[in-house]
Symmetry: C2
Subunit: 431 residues, 2 copies
């Protein structure tokens, strides 16, 4: 088993007493086996000893909601309202996507994300075999799900559910366990209740969690009330979604009572601040959710509504907007935003050994080059990571004990080929 | 006169018909003399011909409010309310700043900013000779002002005003015209009215504009009402500030009537979205200000309340938060945010030949490496610059026709010395 020592690095530990330390970390195989200020046993043999001076090591970032292939729509139809943007811009273009388009759109997203320090993603889309193969070859971690829209005849509904079920069954636990799966009705407004109930039944049969969009816009909440007589939380509760472990994307428009229901069922929220702002969906009640004990993580959403896939920005937005909007300067402090992007992110998608630098955890970590003006003075590194860093400060990325990016270079994917094939796909789509 | 041709680049022009073009730009001496899709006269001789393929050229960014030396306080006292942060954290530390500290704090900020594509800054601080010398040697452009706080005995008030006046007189037009100056009462709540009137008189005598903080927090607005019976806009109008060309920082808490008064006097607003959010000051009424015809530009404020000095982030925040908070997805579209960071920024500080790529304008421009995943597909480059780019995408920076950064390397400043001296200053201050 390969054994690596990193010495003289700054390590973000997020311990309650001390949020970072200067010291040493040992990786054996796929796991961290030691981290501390003291050098480990001096006579130990290592396959590699890395000088971590001038670098800051932290857990890899966990992006809990996205649609990787939507990189193909980055900058297409900006500055529009969600429903118009979805119905007039996104869906017509997405209807043209072949599995080859999804392949290269996803590869481009994965390349951007891993080079920017994201080591785990949730991805909900179609043609998911392509996404899973891209995740497998990239070396990153993925919680993947075929999102189904049920506004179609029963036989098409059935075919989609069959596809989603097969995908979830075939890929769960693959890629040395780096891939897990979920079942996903796209949203309460795109799936009839009986269809959602069928999807929930599959999730029960396969013992898998549910992922869905919910309460992203006030219009959608009102439509749910008009159609079903219930707000989305009560509606999903009623049709049994929360009988499965559930991760909900957005959750922007929630009442106090709904927050209590989400807490009661341990439903997790993927907060997507950049996308919610850009689509003018609103500002989620993150301080209230956190206070209620709901697990809140962070997602970029697709590149069409963000527009980059930089998780440092999502952490920064989470730390900034809730202060500015609530008037409370201690709302979502830096350390909490960092937890949302790492440990709480991993817990939100049922990964218990990812998201923290500690002995026994999976070796999913990244290194930032901190020998740069915006990381000075060398004081509060948690503050610097949240308020000052960006994806482009990331130089090294390790997942499951394997280096996938080193010195800014992706070791697992052919960057030039991906960019070339991506542009070909894009030109075919708009051609 | 040196003559340079850049060929095959993407150039952001922000023309109404077409926001960018693929083509050619010629620089002669300190000015742009040609930009267009057609190659210029083929027999022309050039001192340098640059292949601009894979690069996006745009105007250098204009940061209209900051306190460069506050890099020394980056990450010091995060997540506090403005008044506590100022009174208990910033001011006691700043009182200890020597001119040497201001020198190295400013150099670090300037290094961060120019490498990140900012070519012009407004700086309001103390020990301004150090700031001016740093601007001069960096090659960037600066609109500089000694900010004075008048909560002190008359003889100290007089000494400060004398210092501010001498600085403004001595440095206006220096560094080949790259430095201009202003007069600055720090804020209505830190300067008695009669002291502000004296400062305004000096601005009249020297024919210089005024720069001040105003209406940053609701508490400050209320205190102004309590003390003077007027909200800050009416108060400053009454004591004659707006009889001079005026640039106001923040302007978060404004009524409709106040917006009309600002428009009437052509007062310019430096919007600092990152700082306003972090200090929980609120969200400025930028869509209303723009609709009223007020010139709104962007500022980072000091690094202690931001915490980086990345103007791409300020453009992105300006484009995002007003959508999310107002619920209007077309509030502050990408092109408007980009204008705020460039052309409107330059106009806001009375620089008429900066902030736009066009023949006759000063050659203040930057190049971004767009051969990266987050700039694909190659569609709407204005969208990509605002919603996807960051300071670290900048590779080349030219100010007044001189390259000051090339291939990510600063040609005018000694980066290693600056980082070393900065850390020495910081450790003396906290020691």
């Amino acid at each position: 088993m390969k054994k690596t020592l990193i010495k003289n690095g700054i390590f973000i530990t997020l311990n309650e007493s001390k949020s970072w330390l200067k010291g040493f970390m040992v990786i054996e195989g796929s796991r961290i086996t030691y981290i501390g200020e003291q050098a480990p046993e001096p006579n130990e043999q290592y396959d590699e000893i890395i000088d971590g001076s001038h670098k800051l090591y932290m857990p890899g970032l966990v992006n809990t909601h996205g649609h990787a292939a939507m990189t193909l729509l980055r900058g297409y139809g900006d500055d529009l309202a969600l429903q118009i943007w979805l119905e007039e811009k996104m869906w017509p273009m997405e209807a043209k996507f072949s599995s080859n388009d999804v392949k290269w759109g996803s590869y481009l997203a994965i390349l951007e994300m891993i080079k920017g320090g994201t080591t785990t993603i949730v991805d909900m889309y179609d043609h998911m075999n392509e996404v899973a193969m891209a995740i497998e070859s990239s070396g990153m971690r993925g919680v993947l799900t075929r999102g189904v829209i049920g506004l179609c005849p029963p036989e098409i509904q059935d075919a989609k559910l069959k596809d989603a079920t097969e995908f979830a069954r075939n890929w769960h636990g693959q890629a040395n366990g780096r891939i897990t799966t979920m079942m996903s009705p796209h949203a309460p407004y795109t799936c009839p209740p009986d269809y959602i109930e069928k999807i929930v039944q599959v999730a029960h049969d396969l013992n898998l969690p549910i992922h869905t969009h919910m309460s992203e816009t006030s219009r959608e909440v009102q439509a749910n009330v008009d159609q079903y007589g219930l707000r989305p939380v009560a509606h999903l509760e009623k049709i049994g979604v929360f009988s499965r472990p559930t991760l909900v994307a957005h959750g922007v428009h929630l009442t106090d009572e709904e927050i209590q229901v989400l807490k009661q069922y341990d439903v997790r929220i993927s907060h997507n601040p950049g996308s919610n702002l850009k689509l003018a969906s609103g500002v989620a009640r993150v301080p209230e959710l956190l206070r209620a004990g709901v697990k809140v993580s962070l997602g970029t959403d697709g590149a069409a509504s963000n527009n980059n896939l930089d998780m440092f920005e999502e952490m920064r937005l989470a730390a900034l907007i809730h202060k500015g909007v609530s008037g409370d300067p201690v709302a979502v402090p830096a350390a909490e935003a960092l937890l949302m992007g790492t440990k709480m992110g991993a817990e939100s998608i049922w990964l218990e050994d990812v998201g923290l630098l500690a002995a026994g955890m999976k070796a999913d970590f990244i290194a930032l080059d901190i020998d740069q003006p915006h990381f000075l003075p060398k004081t509060d590194f948690v503050s610097h990571v949240v308020y000052s860093a960006s994806a482009k400060d990331v130089v090294d990325v390790c997942v499951d004990g394997n280096w996938i990016v080193r010195n800014n270079e992706c070791l697992t994917l052919d960057e030039e080929q991906i960019k070339r094939e991506f542009e070909l796909s894009f030109h075919r789509l708009i051609g």
